[in-house]
Every structure is written in C-alpha cells, then in structure tokens.
Amino acid sequence: MSKFFINCDEATAICDKSQYKEATFWEKFKLSFHLFICKKCGLYTKQNAIVTKVCDKHLHKNECNHKFTEPEKIKLQENISKEVDK
C-alpha cells in the first residue's frame, strides 16, 4: 500500500481527479487527511470545485453543426476526384 502522507502536488492531483469522481476511496482518504494540515490545499480544493462549476456552466459541447461551405466542398471533391482518376 502506498504511503499515507502525501505532498501538495499529490494532494491536488487527487483533488483534480475527484472533480471527475474518479478518485479511489484510499486517495480521498489521504487527501482528507492532508487537508487537515494544509491550508493552501484547502483553498485549492475549494477553488477547484468553483472551477468545475464554471466549466459546467460556461463551456459547452460541440454542437455538431459545423459545415464546410459549398465552394469548399466542391474544391474538396475536386481534390479527391483528381486522385481517384490517377
């Protein structure tokens, strides 16, 4: 079993992973313990949750409505057809 005491780099890495609900129980346990003794990581954890909310609210999925313009499509088809005939 890996060590119980983790540094800030490792603690925030677990915090990042847990934003996606993919941190293991043992990882979360080590993080909680680290947060008892480290204010900076406490602040990071709080702000990281805000970053997650900001992303959920303001970053949006690709809408799948990107299109080539008609002239681009014609040009593209020309480039393809040129190679077909080779």
């Binding site: 800030c8 925030t12 996606y20 602040l43 702000q47 609210k57 303001h58 970053l59 690709n62 499509k73």
Partner: protein, 189 residues
C-alpha cells in the same frame, strides 16, 4: 464465386456525403476549424490510397472514421513531442527538500466571499474561454474531451494513445493553470 460486398466505396460523392460529419468529429477533438478541415482532406486522400483494403464489411463512413482516428492520433503525437515549448509552469517545487510543496507566489490566494455568486455572471464565459485558449494544445485537447465532452478516461486514452496516468497528469496541470488564470483575470480582480 466471390460474394458481393455489403458496402461499396463511392469516392466521387465523399465530400457531399461525409465531409461535414468528419469535420464535426474532428473539431470536437482539435478545436480549430482550419486544422480540422485539413485533417478531413488528408483522411479522404489516405482513404483513397488504401481503398483496396476496404472489405465492404463496415459502412463507408465507419471505415473513413477509422482512418480519421489514426490521423488524429498522429496529430496528437506530433504536438505531444514538441517538448518544452508548451509546458505548463508548475506550481510546486520539483526537487530538494521542498519537493511537492507549493511555490509561495503560485499558491492559491483567497477569491473572497463572493466567488460563488460570480459564477453566474455572463462575462465569466469570455474569461474561461480565454483561459482555456491559453492552455497548451496537447493539454487543451485532453481537458476538453474529459471535462466538456464527458468522454470516459479509457476512451480518451485509446483515441489519443496515452495511458490513464498520462491523462491525469495532463488534467492536473491543465486545472492548475486554469485556476491560476481565473484567479488573475477574474476572481481576484
């Protein structure tokens, strides 16, 4: 004796039939219109060269997507190998007795009590967009696939040819940079 294949290729209609579909597939991953269009064209041209390998078992589109996926991996490998150029500045000491501890001036500072309320502000959208644009491309791709498109870790790893531990290091660095960027440009203002 030979059986007729289920599917056939019709390259003379590729642009009309598949270009937009491949374009959308690509842009979700590379986040840049011109680049996505180039990758789509390359995909069609590679597909033509490989057309004798098409067995007709899968549909034309499925086959094109499998070629496109390899193009995206190639592209990701290419940007991934540009070392040093686009690294995120880390927030922790890298060695010595302070290894893994916060570098004082890069540690989080308070965002005040109103941070939660500021999330609703519509102007925050342009701040987060700018911060995401500042991410090195190899981080931005993984971060957006994971955070915005909600892909499974395993799926991203397969698509980009990276390991889960690579992925988490990338997410870790991307989120550190985003936090810092939002602090400087929004919350601590």
């Amino acid at each position: 004796m030979s059986e007729k294949p289920l599917h056939t290729l019709d390259p003379n209609n590729w642009a009309q039939s598949h270009a937009d579909y491949l374009f959308n597939y690509t842009i979700t991953r590379v986040n840049n219109e011109d680049l996505a269009k180039d990758i789509v064209q390359e995909t069609f041209l590679s597909a033509l060269k490989a057309k004798d390998n098409f067995k007709g078992l899968a549909s034309e589109r499925t086959w094109l997507i499998s070629i496109l996926k390899r193009k995206i991996i190639d592209y990701y490998r290419k940007i991934n190998s540009k070392k040093g150029k686009a690294e995120v500045r880390m927030d922790f000491y890298e060695d010595g007795e302070n290894k893994g501890k916060w570098i004082e001036e890069r540690a989080p500072s308070s965002w005040g009590n109103e941070a939660e309320m500021k999330i609703e502000n519509a102007e925050l959208k342009s701040a987060i967009d700018t911060c995401v644009d500042f991410l090195p491309e190899k981080y931005r791709m993984v971060f957006l696939l994971k955070t915005v498109e909600n892909y499974e870790t395993e799926e991203i790893c397969n698509e980009l040819g990276i390991t889960p531990s690579n992925l988490w290091v990338i997410i870790h660095r991307a989120r550190h940079q985003l936090r810092k960027c939002l602090e400087e440009n929004w919350f601590a203002k």
